[in-house]
Amino acid sequence: MNNEALKDLLYKMADDALIIGHRNSEWTGIGPMLEEDLAFSSMAQDKIGHAVALYKILHEVLGEADPDTLGFKREEKDFKCCQFIEQPIGEYDFSIVRQFLFDHAEHIRYELLTQSSFQPLAQLAKKIRGEIKYHVMHADTFIKQLGNGTEESKARLQSSLNHAWPFALGIFEKSEFESALIEAEVFVGEDELKKRWLLKISPVLESANLKIPAINESKIVYGGRKGFHSEYLKPLLEEMTEVLRTDINAEW
């Protein structure tokens, strides 16, 4: 198996987890109710933990720099996260819709990776999928409740779904290593993931009276997996590393 392909897969997963973790943490202290404040804060902690575990594989197995360096000292263009998770948290309806769409994709991705030929990742996937199950349950609960709630809650969810959809499809952007990963049986591939994801989210959206928007292929927001990001990633990275940069070599 070629290591560059493995690295590419791990970077995109780890960067997704780190950045969505940071976004989730922005709800700490301002959640619409205490339970949601706790939920987003806990999910932030989980996601950042997942990112660290993935960076550790990159470091220990594939010879990349240590997790702190990978998380905090890379340039914006080196990040492989999708643009969806860089978007600001917006209002609660957008955050919960994003969590629903992203976490279902992530849950299935880890489920599929438990069968990966790359053992360190297969082992980690077995562990992580059990944790993400709670993230998915959380999202499903609120999507159903708000989708069947008031006129306002329905309208807000639908409008956030419309806004999120082109970004969400960008999760499945393929990299140049796609076929190498499939051939080596590391991962079954983004198309298969997307297919399973649609099967999983459609009935939930339906039971919440939400409609998947029909969009033109050209509207899908790609780029993140290749290092092209929206205007929101750079400020996020600056904020995330602000303390670190006051004394870059400090020992913590």
């Binding site: 339970e35 706790l38 939920a39 804060s41 806990s42 989980d46 933990g49 077995k126 944790e131 959380h138």
Partner: protein
């Protein structure tokens, strides 16, 4: 490192290490030891050269992002070193996946007494019934509901008991 007499060291067996591990508590759940939790997956004593004795302890984290891991590792090392080893290595890996089914049954009784509803046995995939059928640790009623899958630590969920009208926490089944 403190020098130890060699004959003292020769008597340290793996079962003595397991015993001392019973005294290392999970900082987030002080009534349970790392052995109760099922976090320790292997204990090995090595003699790379005679006279030198090294203990190697392998553990698996409960939650990947558990912030207590480093503290637990440190306490394990400190406690086991007291037995007189020249070095104690604590390794964290995912080779054995931790699930709440690894928790000892006595540990679950201790948890309930501590006021934290213990996780049910999952044995495979977590079902709806296992998630909903939770006994209140205060009044023992099962008329309870999930308030939030996320609580004060990564391993806890918040529930509410309709019988005694109190909120309580549960150790999540994973």
């Amino acid at each position: 490192m403190v020098e130890q007499t060699t004959d003292y060291k020769k008597h340290i067996t793996e079962s003595i290490v397991w015993e001392i591990l019973e005294t290392v508590k999970d900082p987030e759940i002080p009534v349970l030891s790392v052995v109760d939790m099922g976090m320790i997956t292997a204990v090995q004593i090595r003699n790379p050269i005679s006279e030198i004795q090294i203990a190697e302890i392998t553990m698996t984290p409960t939650f990947v992002g558990c912030p207590a891991i480093d503290v637990i590792k440190k306490s394990i090392r400190e406690e086991v070193l007291k037995l007189g080893f020249d070095e104690v290595e604590v390794k964290v890996d995912f080779e054995t996946t931790w699930t709440s089914d690894r928790m000892r049954s006595e540990a679950k009784i201790k948890l309930e007494k501590f006021g934290l509803a213990p996780p049910p046995l999952i044995e495979g995939e977590l079902t709806e019934e296992q998630l909903n059928n939770v006994r209140c640790p205060h009044c023992r009623s099962t008329d309870t509901t999930l308030r939030s899958a996320f609580g004060s630590t990564l391993c806890r969920a918040i529930r509410f008991c309709f019988s005694c009208k109190q909120g309580f926490e549960q150790f999540k089944p994973v």
